[in-house]
Protein backbone atom coordinates (compact mmCIF):
# COMPACT_ATOMS: atom_id res chain seq x y z
CA UNK A 1 0.00 0.00 0.00
CA UNK A 2 1.45 3.35 -0.98
CA UNK A 3 1.70 5.77 1.88
CA UNK A 4 3.66 8.57 0.21
CA UNK A 5 5.02 11.47 2.23
CA UNK A 6 2.38 11.54 4.92
CA UNK A 7 3.11 13.56 8.05
CA UNK A 8 4.20 11.43 10.99
CA UNK A 9 2.38 11.64 14.28
CA UNK A 10 4.54 13.47 16.84
CA UNK A 11 7.11 11.40 18.71
CA UNK A 12 6.74 12.62 22.27
CA UNK A 13 10.41 11.91 23.08
CA UNK A 14 11.67 14.46 20.55
CA UNK A 15 8.66 16.77 20.59
CA UNK A 16 9.22 20.22 22.08
CA UNK A 17 6.84 20.52 25.05
CA UNK A 18 4.33 23.30 24.53
CA UNK A 19 2.03 25.05 26.97
CA UNK A 20 -0.95 23.52 25.16
CA UNK A 21 0.53 20.00 25.14
CA UNK A 22 1.21 20.29 28.86
CA UNK A 23 -2.47 21.10 29.40
CA UNK A 24 -3.43 18.14 27.27
CA UNK A 25 -1.46 15.63 29.34
CA UNK A 26 -2.63 17.33 32.55
CA UNK A 27 -6.21 16.67 31.43
CA UNK A 28 -5.41 12.95 31.40
CA UNK A 29 -3.50 13.07 34.70
CA UNK A 30 -6.36 14.88 36.45
CA UNK A 31 -8.78 12.40 34.84
CA UNK A 32 -6.91 9.46 36.39
CA UNK A 33 -6.70 11.30 39.71
CA UNK A 34 -10.44 11.99 39.70
CA UNK A 35 -11.10 8.34 38.83
CA UNK A 36 -9.16 7.34 41.95
CA UNK A 37 -11.07 10.00 43.88
CA UNK A 38 -14.39 8.31 43.10
CA UNK A 39 -13.22 5.41 45.29
CA UNK A 40 -13.13 7.82 48.23
CA UNK A 41 -16.52 9.17 47.20
CA UNK A 42 -18.06 5.68 47.26
CA UNK A 43 -16.37 4.98 50.60
CA UNK A 44 -17.79 8.28 51.92
CA UNK A 45 -21.31 7.24 50.81
CA UNK A 46 -20.86 3.89 52.58
CA UNK A 47 -19.72 5.48 55.83
CA UNK A 48 -22.67 7.87 55.52
CA UNK A 49 -25.08 4.96 55.02
CA UNK A 50 -23.52 3.04 57.93
CA UNK A 51 -24.22 3.40 61.63
CA UNK A 52 -20.67 3.23 63.04
CA UNK A 53 -18.25 6.08 63.71
CA UNK A 54 -16.52 5.70 60.31
CA UNK A 55 -18.26 8.82 59.00
CA UNK A 56 -17.03 10.95 61.90
CA UNK A 57 -13.51 9.51 61.49
CA UNK A 58 -13.51 10.42 57.81
CA UNK A 59 -14.80 13.92 58.55
CA UNK A 60 -12.01 14.37 61.12
CA UNK A 61 -9.48 13.23 58.52
CA UNK A 62 -10.71 15.74 55.91
CA UNK A 63 -10.51 18.52 58.50
CA UNK A 64 -6.82 17.73 59.21
CA UNK A 65 -4.01 19.55 57.39
CA UNK A 66 -3.12 16.45 55.32
CA UNK A 67 -6.80 15.90 54.53
CA UNK A 68 -7.21 19.50 53.42
CA UNK A 69 -4.13 19.33 51.16
CA UNK A 70 -5.64 16.28 49.42
CA UNK A 71 -9.04 17.99 49.21
CA UNK A 72 -7.45 21.11 47.71
CA UNK A 73 -5.59 19.10 45.05
CA UNK A 74 -8.77 17.13 44.41
CA UNK A 75 -10.87 20.28 43.99
CA UNK A 76 -8.33 21.85 41.63
CA UNK A 77 -8.14 18.64 39.56
CA UNK A 78 -11.94 18.65 39.35
CA UNK A 79 -12.25 22.30 38.28
CA UNK A 80 -9.34 21.95 35.86
CA UNK A 81 -10.79 18.83 34.24
CA UNK A 82 -14.18 20.56 34.08
CA UNK A 83 -12.86 23.76 32.46
CA UNK A 84 -10.55 21.96 30.05
CA UNK A 85 -13.34 19.51 29.27
CA UNK A 86 -15.60 22.39 28.25
CA UNK A 87 -12.68 23.66 26.10
CA UNK A 88 -12.67 20.26 24.41
CA UNK A 89 -16.43 20.51 23.81
CA UNK A 90 -15.91 23.88 22.07
CA UNK A 91 -13.24 22.25 19.87
CA UNK A 92 -15.66 19.42 19.10
CA UNK A 93 -18.10 22.07 17.89
CA UNK A 94 -15.32 23.44 15.66
CA UNK A 95 -14.79 26.60 17.72
CA UNK A 96 -11.35 27.98 18.68
CA UNK A 97 -9.32 25.31 16.94
CA UNK A 98 -6.47 27.45 15.55
CA UNK A 99 -3.18 27.68 17.49
CA UNK A 100 -3.58 31.26 18.71
CA UNK A 101 -7.10 30.56 20.03
CA UNK A 102 -5.96 27.28 21.65
CA UNK A 103 -3.21 29.17 23.53
CA UNK A 104 -5.65 31.84 24.67
CA UNK A 105 -8.21 29.28 25.88
CA UNK A 106 -5.38 27.40 27.65
CA UNK A 107 -4.67 30.50 29.76
CA UNK A 108 -8.40 30.95 30.41
CA UNK A 109 -8.63 27.32 31.63
CA UNK A 110 -5.66 27.63 34.01
CA UNK A 111 -6.78 30.96 35.48
CA UNK A 112 -10.50 30.12 35.66
CA UNK A 113 -9.96 26.72 37.29
CA UNK A 114 -7.68 28.34 39.88
CA UNK A 115 -10.25 31.09 40.59
CA UNK A 116 -13.03 28.49 40.94
CA UNK A 117 -10.91 26.46 43.37
CA UNK A 118 -10.03 29.50 45.48
CA UNK A 119 -13.65 30.68 45.37
CA UNK A 120 -14.93 27.29 46.51
CA UNK A 121 -12.42 27.23 49.39
CA UNK A 122 -13.17 30.80 50.42
CA UNK A 123 -16.86 29.89 50.57
CA UNK A 124 -16.25 26.65 52.49
CA UNK A 125 -13.86 28.22 54.99
CA UNK A 126 -16.22 31.16 55.60
CA UNK A 127 -18.95 28.64 56.52
CA UNK A 128 -16.56 27.10 59.03
CA UNK A 129 -16.01 30.54 60.55
CA UNK A 130 -12.53 30.97 59.08
CA UNK A 131 -10.93 28.05 60.94
Amino acid sequence: MTTGQRPLSPHLQIYKPEFTSALSIFHRITGVGLALGTLLLVYWLFTLAGTGDAFVKMQTFWASVFGRVILFAWSYALFYHLCNGVRHLFWDAGIGFDIAAARRSAIVVVVLSLLMTLGAWAWGLSLLGGS
Binding site: T38, F46, A49
Partner: protein, 126 residues
Protein backbone atom coordinates in the same frame (compact mmCIF):
# COMPACT_ATOMS: atom_id res chain seq x y z
CA UNK B 1 1.02 -11.29 -2.77
CA UNK B 2 -2.46 -11.89 -4.09
CA UNK B 3 -4.59 -10.30 -6.69
CA UNK B 4 -6.78 -8.52 -4.17
CA UNK B 5 -6.57 -4.76 -4.12
CA UNK B 6 -5.47 -2.83 -1.03
CA UNK B 7 -9.02 -1.64 -0.54
CA UNK B 8 -10.43 -5.18 -0.66
CA UNK B 9 -7.97 -6.29 2.02
CA UNK B 10 -9.01 -3.66 4.54
CA UNK B 11 -12.72 -3.55 3.75
CA UNK B 12 -14.78 -4.82 6.68
CA UNK B 13 -11.87 -4.65 9.14
CA UNK B 14 -12.55 -1.10 10.22
CA UNK B 15 -14.62 0.38 12.97
CA UNK B 16 -17.42 -2.21 12.78
CA UNK B 17 -19.68 0.79 12.04
CA UNK B 18 -19.68 2.07 15.59
CA UNK B 19 -16.41 3.96 15.88
CA UNK B 20 -18.08 7.17 16.95
CA UNK B 21 -20.28 5.63 19.68
CA UNK B 22 -17.51 5.68 22.30
CA UNK B 23 -16.52 9.24 21.41
CA UNK B 24 -20.14 10.43 21.45
CA UNK B 25 -20.93 8.78 24.83
CA UNK B 26 -17.94 10.54 26.36
CA UNK B 27 -19.30 13.91 25.15
CA UNK B 28 -22.87 13.21 26.27
CA UNK B 29 -21.72 12.25 29.78
CA UNK B 30 -19.35 15.26 29.85
CA UNK B 31 -22.21 17.67 29.09
CA UNK B 32 -24.41 15.97 31.71
CA UNK B 33 -21.64 16.21 34.30
CA UNK B 34 -21.11 19.98 33.99
CA UNK B 35 -24.31 21.06 35.83
CA UNK B 36 -24.29 17.96 38.08
CA UNK B 37 -20.76 18.68 39.32
CA UNK B 38 -21.51 22.36 39.99
CA UNK B 39 -24.59 21.33 41.97
CA UNK B 40 -22.72 18.59 43.86
CA UNK B 41 -19.71 20.73 44.78
CA UNK B 42 -21.95 23.61 45.93
CA UNK B 43 -24.04 21.19 48.02
CA UNK B 44 -21.00 19.54 49.63
CA UNK B 45 -19.52 22.95 50.50
CA UNK B 46 -22.77 24.06 52.13
CA UNK B 47 -22.72 20.79 54.15
CA UNK B 48 -19.17 21.35 55.41
CA UNK B 49 -18.82 20.23 59.02
CA UNK B 50 -22.44 18.98 59.15
CA UNK B 51 -23.47 16.10 61.43
CA UNK B 52 -24.06 12.67 59.90
CA UNK B 53 -27.85 12.82 60.32
CA UNK B 54 -27.98 16.21 58.56
CA UNK B 55 -26.01 14.84 55.57
CA UNK B 56 -28.20 11.70 55.56
CA UNK B 57 -31.35 13.83 55.52
CA UNK B 58 -29.93 15.75 52.54
CA UNK B 59 -29.09 12.56 50.60
CA UNK B 60 -32.54 11.17 51.47
CA UNK B 61 -34.43 14.13 49.99
CA UNK B 62 -36.11 12.58 46.90
CA UNK B 63 -34.82 15.01 44.28
CA UNK B 64 -31.33 14.92 45.83
CA UNK B 65 -31.30 11.10 45.73
CA UNK B 66 -32.26 11.17 42.06
CA UNK B 67 -29.65 13.81 41.17
CA UNK B 68 -26.96 11.90 43.10
CA UNK B 69 -27.80 8.68 41.22
CA UNK B 70 -27.73 10.60 37.91
CA UNK B 71 -24.34 12.03 38.90
CA UNK B 72 -22.98 8.56 39.70
CA UNK B 73 -24.29 7.06 36.44
CA UNK B 74 -22.79 9.85 34.29
CA UNK B 75 -19.57 9.95 36.33
CA UNK B 76 -18.77 6.23 36.30
CA UNK B 77 -19.68 5.92 32.62
CA UNK B 78 -17.48 8.93 31.74
CA UNK B 79 -14.67 7.58 33.96
CA UNK B 80 -14.75 4.16 32.35
CA UNK B 81 -14.72 5.59 28.80
CA UNK B 82 -11.81 7.92 29.58
CA UNK B 83 -9.76 5.28 31.37
CA UNK B 84 -10.30 2.91 28.46
CA UNK B 85 -8.72 5.41 26.05
CA UNK B 86 -5.76 5.95 28.37
CA UNK B 87 -5.20 2.20 28.87
CA UNK B 88 -5.45 1.57 25.13
CA UNK B 89 -2.92 4.33 24.44
CA UNK B 90 -0.25 3.33 26.94
CA UNK B 91 -0.45 -0.46 27.31
CA UNK B 92 1.18 -2.20 24.37
CA UNK B 93 0.87 -5.84 25.48
CA UNK B 94 -2.35 -6.98 23.83
CA UNK B 95 -3.66 -9.40 26.49
CA UNK B 96 -2.82 -6.94 29.28
CA UNK B 97 -4.57 -4.13 27.42
CA UNK B 98 -7.76 -6.17 26.98
CA UNK B 99 -7.63 -7.43 30.57
CA UNK B 100 -7.20 -3.95 32.07
CA UNK B 101 -9.94 -2.43 29.89
CA UNK B 102 -12.25 -5.25 31.03
CA UNK B 103 -11.21 -4.71 34.65
CA UNK B 104 -11.94 -0.98 34.53
CA UNK B 105 -15.39 -1.71 33.08
CA UNK B 106 -16.13 -4.31 35.77
CA UNK B 107 -14.94 -1.94 38.50
CA UNK B 108 -16.96 0.97 37.11
CA UNK B 109 -20.18 -1.09 37.16
CA UNK B 110 -19.41 -2.49 40.63
CA UNK B 111 -18.70 0.93 42.15
CA UNK B 112 -21.69 2.49 40.40
CA UNK B 113 -23.99 -0.17 41.88
CA UNK B 114 -22.33 0.24 45.27
CA UNK B 115 -22.94 4.00 45.29
CA UNK B 116 -26.55 3.64 44.10
CA UNK B 117 -27.11 1.01 46.81
CA UNK B 118 -25.73 3.35 49.49
CA UNK B 119 -27.87 6.28 48.26
CA UNK B 120 -31.04 4.16 48.19
CA UNK B 121 -30.31 2.69 51.63
CA UNK B 122 -30.01 6.20 53.07
CA UNK B 123 -33.13 7.32 51.18
CA UNK B 124 -35.33 4.41 52.26
CA UNK B 125 -33.93 3.44 55.66
CA UNK B 126 -32.46 6.76 56.84
Amino acid sequence: MGLRTDLAKVRGLGSAKEGSAHWWSQRVTAVALVPLIFWFVASIISLVGAQQDVVQAWVGTPWVSVLLILLCVAMFHHLQLGMQVILEDYIHVEWLKIASVMLIKFLAVAFLLASIFAILKIAFLG
